[in-house]
């Protein structure tokens, strides 16, 4: 692949793990996302191991997180459907939030790998694309599950003339989800790297804090939109 270096910022170079001639993995993305999943699982397991009526600190944090995610699902999907899709929305939210913050909070640049660099898994377009495809498969499946073949009536809903637009929308939804998350995270990391190459001390810190905030908003947006698309499909 054609890449070039601009003040030591690398985009598009990966640690390839080859299986065959054509199949390969992006090693650093898979590694970091496995670590993120493990950390989230550990966190949730430790927080819910012995639940108490008067929660301790750990359980308190998890209850706040649960309330937040339940609020997202509830406002989009309504009282009769939200509980079935809460696990999906929560998985998306926690994974995206965990990956974004893992890229920002853990000092990956201290660890040298042969090619590419360790960063947030959402820094790789394949991760975000995969999440977007999962979302669109889920809303398609949910609409089909709840409404059967009547689901396809939605494509000619306001009038028949909108059929092409409705079909294009099915493709543009995952595309925009994908680019929104990927672009935001890459923009964050590029801004921080450019500032670091200009003034390495103290100046990038506010931008890093802004990035931390923006990436949590992105997790919120992604899960809200996933829930909204689901609601649109099953309504």
């Amino acid at each position: 692949m054609y890449t070039f270096l601009l003040s030591k910022i690398e985009v598009g170079s990966h640690l390839y793990i080859n299986f065959t001639e054509t199949a390969h993995l992006h090693g650093e993305t898979v590694g970091v996302s496995c670590l993120v999943v493990a950390l989230i699982t550990l966190f949730l397991f430790l927080g819910t191991r012995n639940l108490q009526r008067v929660p301790g600190t750990f359980q308190n944090v998890l209850e706040v997180v649960y309330d937040l995610i339940k609020g997202i699902a509830f406002t989009q999907l309504g009282p009769s459907y939200y509980s079935q899709f809460l696990p999906f929305v929560a998985t998306i939210f926690l994974f995206v939030l965990g990956s974004n913050w893992a890229g920002a909070l853990i000092p990956w640049k201290l660890i040298e790998i042969p090619e590419g660099e360790l960063a947030a898994p959402t820094n790789d377009i394949n991760t975000t694309g995969c999440l977007a495809i999962i979302t669109s498969v889920t809303y398609f499946g949910a609409g089909f599950w709840f409404k059967g073949l009547g689901y396809f009536r939605r494509y000619v809903k306001p009038s028949v003339f909108l059929l092409p637009i409705n079909i294009i929308e099915d493709f543009s939804k995952p595309l925009s989800l994908n680019f929104r998350l990927f672009g935001n995270i890459v923009a964050d990391e590029l801004t921080v790297s450019v500032l670091c190459s200009l003034v390495p001390i103290l100046v990038p810190v506010p931008v890093m804090v802004l990035g931390l905030f923006a990436s949590s908003i992105q997790a919120l947006i992604f899960s809200t939109l996933a829930a909204a698309y689901l609601a649109e499909a099953i309504e």
Binding site: T3, R180, G183, N184, L190
Partner: protein, 83 residues
């Protein structure tokens, strides 16, 4: 010769993509923020709700700029027209 021409055109294209993509969301965010301030001034008790909605809509508007940025990044780092 052709390669350097492609490189120059790509760099200009990237700059134009980000520059123009910034205009619309800039105007939109300014409008939204102004209206939100007006709303808070008129009804200070609704501040929390207004702030949440404002941040959410900011992120949507920012996504439009980000699309331009993705195009620019793909022109700079993963250019399909080189080689």
């Amino acid at each position: 010769m052709v390669d350097s021409l492609v490189a120059a055109a790509s760099v200009i294209g990237a700059a134009v993509a980000v520059g123009f993509a910034g205009i619309g969301p800039g105007i939109g965010q300014g409008n939204a923020a102004g209206q939100a301030v007006e709303g808070i001034a008129r009804q200070p008790e609704a501040e929390g709700k207004i702030r949440g909605t404002l941040l959410l809509s900011f992120a949507f508007m920012e996504a439009l700029t980000i699309y331009g940025l993705v195009v620019a990044l793909s022109l700079l780092f993963a250019n399909p027209f080189v080689g």
